[in-house]
Amino acid sequence: MSLRLLLVDDDVLVRSGLRVILESEPDLTVVGDAGTGREALDVAAQTDPDVVLMDVRMPDMDGIAATRELVARDPQRPRVLVLTTFEDDDYLFRSLQAGASGFALKRSDPDELVDAIRVVARGTSLVLPDLTRRLIAAHAPSRARGPAALPTLTGREADVLRLVAGGLSNAEIATELFLSRETVKTHVSSVLLKLGARDRTQAVIAAYESGFMNA
């Protein structure tokens, strides 16, 4: 099954380049593109993409606001992968906070970019786990209230959340905790449900912001 992608960037050269690069992958289809955040909302409503590749700085509604709006419409679809020129911490964290599932650099190798898109679509691990975790840890305004701030997690679920926040994928967590992948998947789903998080990235933000990671 092919992944449906929406490209959002105010530079037509970036869009046309990305389109050619991504369409050369057999399992990716670019279903639309947009030059501003507002246009992206319209095109997303028409084309129902799986993943939106979102630029951050754009005229007429930037990527952060557009992401927030997309998530408010439907927390499950589409997922947003933020594309950035530079690792500008502040913008990146704000877009994750707004609901983006991950970010990738525009300059990254095309294979890495394609990989990031697939990871975001699957949702079984973080994109750029180390970078993402460091970013969240550095920016999340930790209220340091300890696990109490989170809804009651079972011991296993807390273990799983800690490893998710550590950037481990489901498969790695399974190895670490001597569980089957199916069990890990169940635990992760239940953690996401309890935290009201739409994906792992949001769960990691919640874990840091609640002070769970400091406990």
């Binding site: 105010d10 037509v12 050269l13 046309s16 020129t85 525009k106 300059r107």
Partner: protein, 473 residues
């Protein structure tokens, strides 16, 4: 990086350093190797004799000194300062006499050089006074502006005569003269009373004790007054020898401006070079794929051809921007004020557009009215409008016929970039155009102007910025 550089340089710059400065470990081991050494906490080794005979006179003296130091920290420095105020007071008195003399000579028209000499000497002594106050009194006084750091004889002279520093320094030297007189008077009076009590009074069994007490009191009061005088100078010194408020404000303004320049530079770098390189990279990456397509994808030589054209234009723009940024940085390194180098002006427009023409954009420049005396800030903004407008044409519309117009009518400057119907690709004009437009709009509004960017009825696009000239900096 800075650390490794510094580490790498140390041996060359300070060849003696590693051998002459004992390391912490060496001091520790030396202390540990001498069990009869000084008590813990004392960092200066005491001669071994002292420690062998506890309670000796030397140890008592040391303890007494420690006690004194604890009670009045830095008293030796202050005592030295008080004593120094005698000869220095005399010296400065002579300097003032010289000043008065040379001013009188000025009336007869020959004293100019003399006055300058006296002022230069004053500034020189102010430096010495700063050091004395710092080292003897422990007062924190920043180094003043140095006349010899100024470039050019005229500037040197102007700073020497007009700078507030000179006159404040003169004021301080005057204060030192008064301090010297006060110190001398205190010493003479104290000494006289002491001598009178010791040798002039009638000493017998009854009066001996009160007289002795009085003598001690006289010494105490004299020392206290001297100490008070020194403390007074210590508290006045920073005001007259320190940085003048106007200098502080100027320094603050300069550093603020520098920071703003840097931020602007960073933003420009991000918006222009970073962006151009990213677009080029993606175009190159895509072009390669269209020339060696995977699986059943078609070969697209047209796309590759077009992509190469974009890469060419983008790279050229990026290099021009890099050139500009580097010239700004070099100007800053040279210690010159970067502002005049940083800001491009209307005169640079022709060069900008000729670069774009090389890149295939048919663009004409029309300048109406006299724009030579347009303020630099407005000129730079106008340049940015043309730069952003034409770059956006390339980005969004390809290479249609384009006109950049700068027109002055009275107190208004109108800058317009207008292109005909798009020649290729994505012809959506985009409500805001490039990312730079938002920034431009901010700057135009801040300057009291307006910005409009909209499609024209004929299918082209027009960016128009109106800037007021009156009241602009």
């Amino acid at each position: 990086m800075t650390r490794s550089l510094a580490r790498g340089r140390t041996p060359a710059d300070h060849p003696a350093a590693p051998t002459s400065v004992p390391r912490a470990g060496e001091i520790d081991s030396a202390r540990q190797g001498d069990p009869s050494g000084p008590p813990v906490g004392q960092d200066r080794p005491v001669p071994p004799t002292t420690s062998r005979i506890p309670g000796s006179a030397a140890e008592i003296a040391a303890r007494l000194r420690a006690l004194l130091v604890a009670a009045r920290p830095g008293w030796p420095g202050r005592a030295l300062y008080a004593l120094a105020s005698l000869p220095f007071g005399a010296l400065y008195l002579a300097l003032f006499a010289g000043l008065v003399g040379s001013v009188v000579a000025l009336i007869y028209g020959v004293g100019v050089l003399l006055v300058l000499l006296v002022l230069a000497t004053t500034r020189g002594f102010a430096g010495l006074e700063r050091r004395m106050a710092r080292e003897l009194l422990g007062v924190d006084i920043p180094a003043g502006e140095r006349v010899r750091d100024q470039h050019g004889a005229v500037r040197k002279l102007r700073r020497l005569v007009w700078a507030a520093d000179t006159w404040r320094a003169l004021g301080w030297l005057g204060a030192r003269v008064l301090l010297g007189i006060a110190t001398l008077a205190t010493l003479l009076f104290g000494g006289f009373v002491f001598a009178y009590l010791g040798w002039g009074a009638d000493w017998n069994a009854l009066t001996a004790l009160p007289l002795l007490a009085l003598m001690v009191a006289v010494v105490g009061v004299t020392l206290a007054v001297l100490d008070g005088l020194v403390r007074l100078s210590g508290s006045v010194a920073p005001r007259l020898l320190g940085t003048a408020p106007e200098q502080r404000i100027a320094a603050l303004q300069q550093s603020t401006r520098r920071l703003a320049d840097r931020n602007r530079l960073a933003r420009d770098l991000h918006d222009t070079i970073g962006h151009a390189l990213t677009a080029s990279l993606l175009q190159a990456s895509a072009a390669r794929r269209t020339l060696t397509p995977a699986g059943d994808r078609p070969l697209q030589p047209d796309f590759a051809h077009q992509a190469l054209g974009h890469i060419e234009t983008n790279t050229r723009t990026a290099l021009a921007e890099l050139d500009r940024v580097l010239s700004v940085l070099r100007a800053e390194d040279g210690g010159r004020d970067p502002a005049p180098f940083a800001a491009p002006s209307l005169a640079d427009l022709e060069e900008l557009l000729s670069g774009l023409r090389d890149g295939g954009l048919p663009v004409a420049l029309v300048v109406d009215g006299d724009v030579d005396d347009v303020p630099a800030g407005v000129q730079e903004l106008a340049y940015r409008v043309v730069q952003e407008g034409t770059t956006n044409v390339l980005r969004h519309a390809g290479t249609p016929l384009t006109v950049a117009q700068v027109a002055r009518s009275g107190a208004t400057l109108v800058v317009r970039v207008c292109n005909e119907r798009a020649s290729q690709l994505d012809s959506r004009p985009g409500p805001g155009g490039g990312r730079g437009l938002a920034g431009l709009r901010e700057r135009a509004t801040a300057a009291g102007g307006t910005l409009s960017a909209e499609p024209t009825p004929s299918g082209g696009f027009e960016l128009c910025v109106t800037l007021p000239l009156a009241g602009a900096a």
